[in-house]
C-alpha cells in the first residue's frame, strides 16, 4: 500500500488542526510548521511525479473497491498539478511570512486547509469527493480572502463566496443528474457508463455534464461566470491573490480531466461534449480579459484581468481537445500560474510603497525601490503578456502550433495574437505611468510601515526565476507534458487502473 499518494491531502489536513491549536500560542512556531509542511509537500509531490511515470495509480480509501468507495488516482496530470501547487504555496508562504500572516487570525491553518482542498481536488477520482474538496478549498479560500479585514475586502469576499456557493449548488444538481442516469460517482466508472446511456436518457446526462462545465467554469473564471474574479483578486491580501493563481487552474484541471476521460472520443453520442461550448467561451474570456487589462485603473485590477485572459488562453487550448493542444495548455498553465503570482506580489510591493496612491494607475511621485520594482515588473509583464523570450511566448507558440491542424486554426490565431496587442498596450501604459512618469514628479513618497524583510524579494525572485527556468528548460518540461497529455488521451489506462487493477478488460 503506497500511502505517499494520500500524503498531499493528509499532511496539510493534520497540520491544519495542529496550527489551529498552536497558532494561538506562538506565531513563530506556526510559521515554521507551515513552511515545513509546504517544503515537505514539494518533496512528496516530486516523488509522486516520478511514480506517475509508471502509469495511473490508485489509493482506495477505507479499502473499498471502485466504484463503491472513494479512490484517489495519481497520474501524470495530477502529479504535475501537485508539484505546481506545492512550489507556488511555498514561495507565496515566504512572502506571507514577512507580515501578512499576522494581520488576522488563523492564517496558517487556513493556508494548510486550502492546500488540502486543492491537492484533494487534483487527486480524487470521485465526483462527490471532488465536491467536498471544492467546499474545503472554497471555505478556506474565503477565509484567506477576507484575512486582514477591511470594508472593500469583505464586500468582495461576500460576492466571492455567494457566487461560489451558487456554483456549489449547480454542482450538486449536475452530479445528481449524472448519477440519475449512470448510477455512479466514480469518474472512471462514469467513463464506462457514458457511452451506454441510451438516447432515452441522454438529455439528463448531457445537461448534467454541461452544467458541470459551468461549475468548473466558475472556478476557472470562464466568461460569463468569471465576474467574481476581478474584485476578489484585486481586494484579496497579496499572498492570497498569489496563491489563488492556482485556484483557477483547479477549474481548468477538472475540465480537462472529466471531458477527456468521460466525454472524450469513446463517449459515443456525448463525444467531445464540452468543445462547442467551451471554445467560444474561452476565446471570449481571452478577449475580455485583455480588454480588462487595457482598461485597468489599478495595478491589482490589471493583474486580475490578466488572469482571466490567461485562463482564456489555457481554456482555448484545452477546448481544442487534442494531445498536442493539451500539452501546450499545460505548459501555459504552469507559466501563467507563476507569472500571475509574481504580478500580484509585485502589486502588493508597489501598493505598500505608494502610500495613499496605493496601486492606482495615476501619476504620483517616486517611491522606494522604484528601479528594482520596475525591473521586476518589466520581466513579469513580458511573461504575462506572452512576449519573447519568456515562457509565455513559447506557450503561445505551442498553442498556435497545436491549433493548426484543427478546424479552428483561424479563430485561435486571431484571438491569441490580436489580444496580445491589447496586452502589450495595457502593460506598457501601466508600467510607464507607475515607474516612468513618477520620475518627472516633484518630491518622493515616504510610505509608512514598509516591511524591511528580505522575504518578499526572495519570493518574487523565486517566481521570476521559475519563469526563466520554465523558459530555458522548455524542451524537457514540454516533453514531460506531452507524455502527460498522451496519458490523458488514453482513458483506458486510467479506467483500468481504477476499475480493473488486477487486469481484465
Amino acid at each position: 500500500m503506497n500511502h505517499w499518494l494520500i500524503m498531499p491531502i493528509v499532511l496539510p489536513a493534520v497540520l491544519g488542526p495542529l496550527l489551529i491549536m498552536l497558532g494561538c500560542i506562538d506565531h513563530v512556531l506556526a510559521r515554521i510548521l507551515s513552511l515545513a509542511g509546504c517544503v515537505a509537500l514539494i518533496a512528496i509531490s516530486v516523488g509522486l511525479l516520478q511514480q506517475a511515470d509508471s502509469g495511473p495509480q490508485t489509493y482506495a480509501l477505507s479499502a473499498w473497491v471502485a466504484p463503491f468507495g472513494i479512490l484517489l488516482v495519481l497520474d501524470r496530470l495530477s502529479a504535475v498539478m501537485l508539484v505546481l501547487t506545492a512550489v507556488l504555496a511555498t514561495v507565496v508562504l515566504l512572502y506571507a511570512m514577512a507580515g501578512w500572516d499576522r494581520r488576522g487570525r488563523h492564517f496558517h491553518a487556513l493556508y494548510q486547509f486550502q492546500l488540502m482542498g486543492i491537492n484533494g481536488a487534483f487527486l480524487t477520482g470521485d465526483f462527490f469527493n471532488l465536491f467536498v474538496f471544492f467546499e474545503i478549498l472554497l471555505i478556506a479560500s474565503y477565509g484567506l480572502m477576507v484575512h486582514g479585514g477591511g470594508a472593500d475586502r469583505l464586500r468582495a469576499g461576500v460576492q466571492y463566496v455567494i457566487v461560489n456557493l451558487v456554483g456549489s449548488t449547480l454542482f450538486l444538481i449536475a452530479v445528481g443528474l449524472i448519477y440519475s442516469v449512470t448510477g455512479t460517482l466514480n469518474m472512471a466508472d462514469l467513463a464506462l457508463k457514458v457511452p451506454q446511456v441510451s438516447s432515452d436518457d441522454l438529455a439528463l446526462l448531457q445537461v448534467g455534464a454541461l452544467l458541470l462545465l459551468l461549475v468548473f467554469g466558475v472556478k476557472a473564471a470562464l466568461v460569463p461566470v468569471h465576474f467574481w474574479l476581478p474584485d476578489t483578486y484585486a481586494q484579496a491580501p497579496a499572498p492570497t491573490a498569489a496563491l489563488f493563481a492556482i485556484l483557477t487552474k483547479v477549474g481548468a484541471y477538472c475540465i480537462l480531466r472529466l471531458y477527456v476521460l468521460a466525454f472524450g472520443a469513446q463517449a459515443g453520442a456525448s463525444a467531445w461534449l464540452a468543445q462547442e461550448w467551451l471554445l467560444p467561451a474561452a476565446m471570449v474570456s481571452l478577449t475580455l480579459g485583455l480588454v480588462g487589462v487595457l482598461a485597468a485603473k489599478r495595478l491589482g485590477q490589471l493583474a486580475s484581468f490578466s488572469v482571466i485572459g490567461s485562463m482564456g488562453t489555457v481554456l482555448t487550448a484545452i477546448a481544442l481537445f487534442t494531445p498536442t493542444a493539451t500539452a501546450a495548455a499545460l505548459y501555459y498553465m504552469l507559466h501563467s500560474t507563476l507569472a500571475a503570482a509574481a504580478l500580484f506580489l509585485l502589486t502588493d510591493l508597489v501598493r505598500e510603497r505608494r502610500g495613499h496612491h496605493s496601486d492606482a494607475l495615476t501619476v504620483a511621485p517616486v517611491f522606494a525601490h522604484r528601479s528594482l520594482l520596475a525591473a521586476a515588473f518589466f520581466v513579469a509583464a513580458i511573461a504575462m503578456a506572452g512576449l519573447p523570450p519568456l515562457s509565455g511566448f513559447l506557450g503561445k507558440l505551442l498553442i498556435l502550433q497545436s491549433a493548426w491542424p484543427t478546424p479552428y486554426a483561424f479563430d485561435v490565431y486571431l484571438a491569441v495574437l490580436a489580444t496580445a496587442l491589447l496586452g502589450i498596450i495595457g502593460f506598457v501604459r501601466a508600467g510607464s505611468t507607475l515607474f516612468w512618469k513618477s520620475t518627472a514628479q516633484q518630491g518622493r513618497i515616504e510610505a509608512e510601515g514598509v516591511s524591511h524583510s528580505v522575504l518578499p524579494w526572495v519570493a518574487v525572485g523565486l517566481l521570476l526565476s521559475g519563469i526563466v527556468a520554465l523558459t530555458v528548460g522548455a524542451g524537457g518540461v514540454h516533453d514531460y507534458l506531452s507524455q502527460t497529455a498522451q496519458q490523458l488521451y488514453q482513458p483506458q489506462l486510467y479506467i483500468n487502473a481504477v476499475l480493473f487493477p488486477q487486469g481484465g478488460q
Binding site: G69, A140, V207, V218, W404
Partner: protein, 953 residues
C-alpha cells in the same frame, strides 16, 4: 560555438555596466566596449571563411516539438549585418561615453544598449525562424527601454510606447506569417525553408503569409503607412538614434525581407506590395524630410526614405537590384550613423537641434562641419562618395522596370525622391553650417572633444574610401552577402564610379540640379508646404490609443460594475442557456415508471413548501420574517425526509435547522431589520424571468429522473454494510466508512467555517471601523423586560443532563440505528445553546470552560489520526476495523475504529457551533453594552428580595 558566443556576449555583458558604474563611468563604458569588441573580434575570425562562400552553422535543441532550436547560421548576409551591428555599435558605445551627461544613468543605458545589440545579433544570425521571432520581439522590448531612456520626458515615454506598440503589433503579425510559412514547409529551419521556393509560392497560404510577414517587416522598417513611429523615437538620446536608425533596429525589417528573398520574391504579389511600398515611402519621406527643422527629425525622415529605397530594390525582385540593395545597406549605415552622431554633436555644443536657430557654424566647428558635409553629400548622392554608387545602381534598376505597364512611372518617382533627397541633404549642410554666424546660439559652440568626433570621422573615412574604391573596400562583402540574398549565382556587375552615360546618370544629374534649385527656392516651397495639411501622427496615434482605452474601459467597467445581482443574473442566465441548449440538442423520452397516488399529507406539505418559498421571496426585505419562512421550508424538508423513511436525514435536518436559525437570529440582532429596495421594475422583471426559467428547467429535469428507474450503488451498500462495514445503519456506515473520506472533508469545512466566523468577527471586536460602528449601535427593537426568565432557566437546566444523555445515546447507537456523531454533536450543541440563551452568554461561559478552538482542532485531528491509524494495520486511510474485547462483568464489547472517527466529528460539530455562537453573542453583548449578569436568572428565587444589580429595565 563561437557563433552562439557572438550572440551571447552582449547579453552576458549586459549584466556588468549597471554593476561597474559604481567603479566609475569609464569602467562602465570600458566593460561595455570590451564585450562588444570581443564579439566583433570573434566575428572577424569567422569572416574569411564566410567571404569565401562558406556558411557556418551551430545548433542546440530548445523546444524540439515546436520546431524551435537555438541554431545559428553565419553566411554573407549575416556577416554583413553582424558587422554593422557590432562595428557601429562599438563606435556608438565610444561616442555615448562622451555624449551622456553626469545626470544620466550610464549603467542602465549601456545595459539596454547591450541587450539590444544581442537581440539584433540574434536576428541576423538565427537559422530558425522561431528563434528570429524571439530576438525580433526582444529588439522591440530593448529599444523600448532605449527610446524611453529619458523617462522623465513625456516625448521619450510617448515615443517609446508608440514604437513598442507599432513594432509589437508588427511582431504579432510576423508571428502569424512565419508560422504559416513554417506550416507550408513543415520546418522552421531557415536553411531548410530557403530550399522550398516552389512549394511556398504555389501554396494557397503564400499570399496570407506574405501579407503577414510584410506587416512585420514594414512596421519594423518604418515603411509607409507605418512610418510614423520612427521620427518620434528620436526622443531618445542621440547615440541611441544613431544606432537604432542607421544600422540596426529599422534594418531588421529589411534584413528579413532580404533573408526570405529567395523564397518570397519574384512573384507579382511581391513586386507590387514591396516595390510599391518602398517607392511611396521613399518619395513621401524624402519630401517630409525637407521641411523638418529638427536635425534629428530631418535625419529620421531621411532614414525612412532610404529604407524605402532599399525596400524598393528588394521588391524589384531582380538579382541585380538585390546587389544594389545590399550595397546601399552598407552605405546608408555609414553615412547615416555619422550624420546622427553629427547632429548629436551640434545639439550637444549649441544646445539646440532646431535648424532655424542654427547656421554659420562652419567657422566655429570646422571639424564637425567637414564631417557633416561629406556624410550629407554622400546621402545626397554626390559622386565620389559611397551614397552615389548605390543610388546610381538603384536608378539604373528602376529605369528598366515598368510598373503596371508604365515604363516611366517608377523612374520619375524615384528621380523625384532623389531630388528631394539632394535638397534635404544640402539643407543640412547649408542651413546649419553656412550663412552668417549668429550670436544667439543657446550655448557657446565649438568642436567637441576627440571622443565625440572620432567615431563619425571613422565612418566618414569609410564613406570616402568605399566611394572611391568600392571594389576594394566593399566588393567582397557585397558579393558574399548578395549571394546569400539571391541564394544562387551572382549577376554580372562591377562596383565602379563610372558606368558610362546611362539613363541613371541623367537621372542623377536631374536630381542634383533639381534638388539644388529646390533648396535655392526653399522659402517659396516652404510656404507652399506650410499652407497644406500636416497630419500629426503622434496626436492621431494618441487619440487612437486613448479611444481604444476608453472603449475598453466602457466595456470592461460597464460590464464589471460590482453588482452582485448582475453577476448572479449572468450566472443563472448562463446555466439556463447551457441547460436548455444541451437539453434541446439531446434526446429524452418520457419516464416509464408507474406514478404513485399522492397522499393528502404530502400534498399539504408540498403546498406549504411552495408557500414558504414564495413568502421568503415576498418578505425578503424583512429579514426576520424571511428567516422564519426559511425555517418553515427547512421543517417541511425535514417532514419530507420522515415521510420518505429517512430518519437519519430528518434528525440531521431538524437539528441543523435549529442551530442555524438560532445563529442567524443572533447575527440579525445587530443588522438592520429590513433590507433596502434596490431593484427597479425592469430588474425585477429580468429576475423573475431568470428564476422562472431556471425553476421550470430544474423541475423538468427532476420530474424526468424521478419518473424513471435507474440502477445505483445502493444495493451494494445495503449488502455490504454489515459484513464489510460492521453496522446495520447503512447511512451511518456510508458516512463513516464507505464514504468516510467525504465526511472527513465536510467536518473540516465545518471547522474552517467556524474559524472564519471567529476571524471575521474578531476584526469587529478588536479595533477597526466595524468596532466603532458596533460601539455606536443603538438597539432598534423593544427589549424584553426579563432577559433571563425563570421558567426558561429552570427548564434548560433540567433538560441539560437529559439532552447530554440523549447525545451520548445517539452517538453510541449511531452505527446500527439512526444517529451518529454529527447528530449527537448538534443535539449537545442545542442543549448548551439553551443554557446560554436562558442565562446569557457571559454567565454561562464562566460555567462552561471549553476551548472551542481546541475542540475543533482536536476533532479534525482525531478524525485524521483515526484514518492514519489504519496504516499501522497495513490498510489504507480510514479503513475501519473492529476490536472485540471480552471484559469481565461487561461481556463482549465491540470497539469500532469508526467510533473514534465519529468522536472527531462530534467534537468538531460542538466546537464549531459553540465557537460561532460565542463570537456572535460577544458581538451582541458589545453592541448592547451590557455587563455580565452575576446570577443565572433575573431574580434569584432563593433570595427573593435581591435583584441582579446589573439588570436595568
Amino acid at each position: 560555438m563561437s557563433l552562439a558566443l557572438i550572440v551571447m556576449l552582449p547579453f552576458i555583458g549586459a549584466l556588468f555596466p549597471a554593476l561597474l558604474l559604481r567603479a566609475g563611468r569609464n569602467a562602465c563604458a570600458t566593460a561595455t566596449f570590451t564585450f562588444s569588441l570581443a564579439a566583433f573580434i570573434l566575428l572577424i575570425f569567422q569572416a574569411p571563411a564566410v567571404l569565401q562562400g562558406e556558411t557556418l552553422h551551430a545548433s542546440w535543441q530548445w523546444l524540439p516539438k515546436l520546431g524551435l532550436a537555438v541554431s545559428f547560421m553565419l553566411d554573407g548576409l549575416g556577416l554583413l549585418f553582424a558587422g554593422l551591428i557590432l562595428g557601429i555599435g562599438l563606435l556608438v558605445i565610444f561616442y555615448a561615453r562622451f555624449y551622456l551627461s553626469k545626470q544620466d544613468n550610464m549603467g542602465s543605458f549601456y545595459t539596454y544598449l547591450l541587450l539590444f545589440q544581442g537581440a539584433m545579433l540574434g536576428i541576423v544570425l538565427s537559422d530558425n525562424i522561431l528563434l528570429i521571432l524571439v530576438f525580433w520581439e526582444l529588439t522591440s522590448l530593448s529599444s523600448f527601454l532605449l527610446i524611453g531612456y529619458w523617462k522623465h520626458l513625456p516625448a521619450g515615454r510617448q515615443g517609446a510606447r508608440m514604437a513598442l506598440t507599432v513594432t509589437g503589433a508588427g511582431g504579432l503579425s510576423l508571428i502569424a506569417g512565419l508560422m504559416l510559412l513554417g506550416h507550408i514547409v513543415g520546418s522552421y529551419d531557415l536553411s531548410v525553408m530557403l530550399q522550398h521556393r516552389e512549394l511556398i509560392q504555389s501554396s494557397p497560404l503564400y499570399l496570407p503569409a506574405l501579407l503577414l510577414i510584410l506587416g512585420g517587416c514594414f512596421t519594423k522598417s518604418a515603411q509607409f503607412p507605418f512610418h510614423f513611429w520612427l521620427p518620434h523615437a528620436m526622443a531618445a538620446p542621440t547615440p541611441v538614434s544613431a544606432y537604432l536608425h542607421s544600422a540596426t533596429m529599422v534594418k531588421a525589417g529589411i534584413f528579413l525581407l532580404a533573408r526570405l528573398w529567395p523564397v518570397l520574391s519574384g512573384t507579382p504579389e511581391w513586386f507590387y506590395l514591396v516595390a510599391t511600398t518602398g517607392l511611396i515611402t521613399m518619395l513621401v519621406a524624402a519630401w517630409i524630410a525637407l521641411f523638418k527643422d529638427d536635425l534629428k527629425g530631418l535625419l529620421a525622415f531621411s532614414t525612412v526614405s532610404h529604407l524605402g529605397l532599399i525596400t524598393l530594390l528588394l521588391g524589384l525582385g531582380s538579382p541585380m537590384a538585390a546587389v544594389a540593395a545590399v550595397f546601399h545597406i552598407i552605405n546608408h549605415a555609414t553615412f547615416k550613423a555619422a550624420l546622427f552622431m553629427n547632429a548629436g554633436i551640434v545639439d550637444h555644443e549649441t544646445g539646440t537641434r532646431d535648424i532655424k536657430q542654427l547656421g554659420g557654424l562652419w567657422h566655429l566647428m570646422p571639424i564637425t562641419a567637414t564631417l557633416a558635409m561629406v556624410a550629407a553629400a554622400s546621402m545626397a548622392g554626390v559622386p565620389l562618395l559611397n551614397g552615389f554608387l548605390s543610388k546610381e545602381m538603384m536608378l539604373e534598376q528602376v529605369a528598366h522596370t515598368a510598373w503596371l505597364d508604365q515604363p516611366w512611372l517608377m523612374a520619375i518617382i524615384a528621380t523625384l525622391a532623389a531630388l528631394c533627397s539632394v535638397a534635404y541633404s544640402f539643407r543640412y549642410i547649408v542651413h546649419v553650417f553656412f550663412g552668417p554666424q549668429r550670436h544667439d546660439y543657446p550655448d557657446h559652440p565649438h568642436d567637441p572633444p576627440l571622443g565625440m568626433w572620432l567615431p563619425p570621422a571613422i565612418l566618414v573615412c569609410l564613406v570616402i574610401l568605399i566611394g572611391l574604391f568600392p571594389q576594394t573596400f566593399a566588393g567582397a562583402l557585397v558579393a558574399s552577402s548578395a549571394k546569400a540574398v539571391i541564394g544562387g549565382a551572382l549577376p554580372e556587375y562591377h562596383l565602379a564610379i563610372w558606368h558610362g552615360v546611362t539613363p541613371a546618370l541623367w537621372m542623377s544629374v536631374i536630381a542634383l540640379i533639381g534638388g539644388l534649385s529646390l533648396l535655392a527656392g526653399y522659402r517659396k516651397v516652404r510656404s507652399a508646404w506650410e499652407a497644406g495639411p500636416h497630419p500629426d501622427a503622434k496626436a492621431m496615434f494618441q487619440v487612437w490609443i486613448k479611444g481604444l482605452v476608453q472603449l475598453a474601459q466602457v466595456a470592461s467597467h460597464g460590464l464589471h460594475n460590482g453588482s452582485l445581482q448582475r453577476y448572479l443574473a449572468w450566472m443563472v442566465g448562463a446555466a439556463v442557456v447551457v441547460g436548455y441548449g444541451a437539453f434541446m440538442n439531446s434526446s429524452l423520452s418520457a419516464g416509464s415508471r408507474e406514478l404513485l397516488p399522492a397522499h393528502p399529507t404530502a400534498i399539504a406539505a408540498w403546498l406549504l413548501l411552495i408557500l414558504g418559498c414564495l413568502l421568503t421571496v415576498w418578505l425578503h426585505h424583512q429579514r426576520l420574517l424571511a428567516l422564519i419562512m426559511v425555517g418553515v421550508i427547512g421543517m417541511v424538508v425535514c417532514v419530507g425526509f420522515v415521510y420518505l423513511s429517512a430518519p437519519d436525514l430528518a434528525l440531521t435536518q431538524i437539528s441543523v435547522e435549529v442551530v442555524t436559525v438560532i445563529l442567524m437570529l443572533l447575527a440579525l440582532n445587530v443588522l438592520p431589520k429590513t433590507t433596502p429596495k434596490e431593484s427597479g421594475f425592469g430588474r425585477k422583471g429580468r429576475d423573475i424571468l431568470l428564476a422562472t426559467s431556471a425553476g421550470v428547467g430544474i423541475a423538468t429535469l427532476v420530474w424526468a429522473f424521478l419518473t424513471r428507474d435507474f440502477t445505483t450503488l445502493s444495493d451494494y451498500y445495503l449488502a455490504e454494510s454489515l459484513p464489510g462495514g460492521g453496522g446495520t445503519n447503512v447511512v451511518n456506515v456510508i458516512l463513516v466508512d464507505f464514504r468516510g473520506f467525504d465526511t472527513y472533508g465536510e467536518i473540516t469545512v465545518l471547522g474552517i467555517a467556524a474559524l472564519l466566523i471567529f476571524a471575521l468577527l474578531d476584526g469587529a471586536l478588536h479595533g477597526g471601523s466595524a468596532a466603532k460602528r458596533l460601539a455606536q449601535w443603538l438597539p432598534d427593537q423593544a427589549r424584553a423586560a426579563d432577559r433571563h426568565p425563570l421558567m426558561l432557566v429552570v427548564a434548560a437546566r433540567v433538560m441539560l443532563p437529559l439532552a447530554l444523555l440523549v447525545g451520548v445515546f445517539i452517538f453510541l447507537r449511531g452505527h446500527n440505528v439512526p444517529g451518529g456523531g454529527f447528530i449527537a454533536g448538534l443535539v449537545v450543541s442545542v442543549a448548551l445553546i439553551m443554557q446560554y440563551m436562558a442565562s446569557g452568554f457571559g454567565w454561562a461561559a464562566q460555567k462552561i470552560r471549553l476551548d472551542y478552538h481546541a475542540m475543533i482542532g482536536s476533532g479534525v485531528l482525531l478524525a485524521g489520526l483515526t484514518g492514519i491509524g489504519s496504516w499501522l494495520f497495513g490498510y489504507p486511510f480510514l479503513t475501519s476495523s473492529v476490536l472485540h474485547l471480552d471484559l469481565p462483568a461487561l461481556g463482549e464489547i465491540h470497539i469500532a475504529s469508526a467510533m473514534f472517527f465519529d468522536a472527531g466529528v462530534f467534537s468538531v460539530v460542538v466546537g464549531a457551533t459553540m465557537l460561532a455562537l460565542s463570537q456572535l453573542s460577544q458581538i451582541g453583548r458589545r453592541a448592547e453594552a451590557l455587563p455580565v449578569n452575576q446570577a443565572a436568572m433575573d431574580c434569584d428565587p432563593s433570595h427573593p428580595l435581591q435583584k441582579d444589580p446589573s439588570w436595568k429595565p
